[in-house]
């Protein structure tokens, strides 16, 4: 009888200690029965009930205490987990491999996103203040070439910008000493580096006079990589002469090591000449060297820096007001001027999604626009190009 009652009372005891509790009380009751008789043993059950309640109370208090402390018994959890993992090596290996693959995949995906969308162009100051201007056709979602005069008109009249720079990709044949090289570069307006806010690593960048009159200032800025490769970082490189497309140009400065322009990283510019020296790369319809102002519409990239507290929309509105004064828009009443922020490392990639064909910034000199396949020679923007 006492055994059955003890089993009922045991239900009050927390399950974790119940078997041990029952064993202890069985021994105690056996002792009482042996020395005092069955009645005394039955009376002892009141003590068993009090004992069970005490255990219950203590168990609740311990559980509450454990919940109240942060990471209470965390070490026990770790040990338990490690023991479990050691007992199932196959399962453990599966977990490790899954985690490794998951982490690697996630890291790769976020690295790509960071590189493609969030990392700014190296060395470019306050990239969010930059704005890219394009001239395009409303109906066809295509961009149109820009005469250099139009760039000058925009530069001189866009008062919402601190400055507006133009640049055009080109490939140069360079001869330094007896080493011929094909170097990716750009023809840039004199204020290009100033608009991007880049300090020279050595020497200086272009001054306004060097971009004012054609072919009077044969100067060039080289990249840090070129400085290293051709001159071993010698300070004497500044002021020395380098043959670029057959013309002797004076090296006036070196860009910082990380600077690659505001271009894709896989195709960085290594050499910059002022627009006044663009006859090095431009040819007219007859194949003669052409000054940039007389070369007709060109695939120019225009990038400006907004004044403080001026939004991209304000720049857009002012630029739209200048539409009628631009040569490029006169024959096409539906042409428009767009201003977009330079937010991304690779804005051309985004542009390609939106434009049907040929953003000016993506067009390499002397080739197709890059958006259309080589077989599609009927691409209108490529056909329309008069000078390449």
């Amino acid at each position: 009888m006492t055994g059955r009652l003890l089993a009922v009372i045991a239900l009050v005891v927390p399950a974790v200690v119940r078997p041990r509790w029952r064993e202890e009380w069985s021994a105690e009751l056996a002792e009482v029965r042996r020395t005092r008789g069955r009645l005394a043993a039955a009376r002892m059950l009141r003590g068993a009930l009090a004992d069970a309640r005490t255990l219950r109370t203590l168990g609740d208090a311990q559980r509450k205490g454990a919940r109240g402390r942060p990471f209470a018994a965390f070490d026990q959890d770790i040990r338990y987990a490690v023991r479990g993992l050691r007992q199932a090596p196959g399962f453990t290996a599966g977990i490790v491999v899954s985690l490794a693959l998951g982490l690697a995949g996630t890291a790769a995906a976020f690295s790509f996103l960071n590189a493609a969308f969030y990392r700014g162009f190296p060395e470019v100051a306050d990239q969010r203040g930059l704005v890219r201007l394009t001239l395009g056709s409303v109906q066809k979602f295509s961009t149109i070439p820009v005469p250099y005069r139009d760039y000058l008109t925009l530069r001189d009249n866009l008062t919402t910008l601190e400055g507006l720079a133009a640049y055009r990709d080109a490939t140069f044949a360079v001869l330094a000493g007896d080493q011929p090289l094909s170097v990716r570069g750009a023809v840039v307006s004199g204020n290009y580096f100033r608009v991007l806010g880049i300090p020279p690593a050595a020497g200086r960048f272009f001054i306004d006079d060097e971009d004012r009159t054609p072919d009077t200032h044969p100067v060039v800025v080289i990249s840090d990589m070129l400085w290293e490769r051709l001159f071993h970082r010698s300070p004497s490189a500044i002021g020395s002469v380098m043959l670029v497309n057959g013309a002797p140009l004076h090296i006036v400065g070196v860009t910082p090591p990380a600077f690659i322009g505001i271009r894709r990283a896989e195709n960085p510019a290594r050499l910059w000449v002022p627009a006044a020296m663009s006859a090095l790369t431009l040819r007219d319809r007859d194949g003669h060297p052409a000054a940039i102002e007389s070369a007709g519409p060109l695939w120019l990239d225009l990038v400006g820096r907004r004044l403080a507290n001026v939004s991209v929309e304000q720049v857009q509105a002012q630029a739209a007001g200048l539409r009628d004064s631009l040569d490029a828009t006169r024959p096409d009443p539906r042409a428009r001027i767009s201003a977009i922020g330079v937010w991304l490392n690779n804005p051309e990639g985004m542009e390609g999604e939106m434009l049907a064909c040929g953003s000016p910034s993506a067009r390499p000199a002397g080739g197709s626009c890059g958006r259309c396949s080589p077989k599609r020679s009927s691409c209108r923007c490529c056909r329309r190009r008069s000078v390449c």
Binding site: R20, E23, E24, S26, A27, E28, A30, E31, V32, R34, R43, M44, R46, G47, A48, L49, A50, D51, R53, T54, L55, L58, Q62
Partner: protein, 102 residues
Amino acid sequence: MVDSPLSFTGLFVLQAVAQGHRFGFDIMEVTELPSGTIYPALRRLEAARLVTSGWEKDDKARKEGRPRRRYYELTADGRRQLAAAEARYRAVGRLFPKRSTT
């Protein structure tokens, strides 16, 4: 470890365990306290780590034809608390004049 003063019950139980009365019914016998007092006291003292418990060896219990007992013994903290409580209660005792029992 318990820093609060031991109750009378706790003191009795600890003292009984210290004197070699190591299982519940034995402690109950020597202290003459009811089972509803002794066992809860033992649980609290164990939770406070003043006593620990262990099971009697099976062989001995089998020889005597009974279930094995759960034995309690004092921990170092238990001994320290018992000594402190003993000193405290002796000091309290000195405050009361001895009375003749005759």
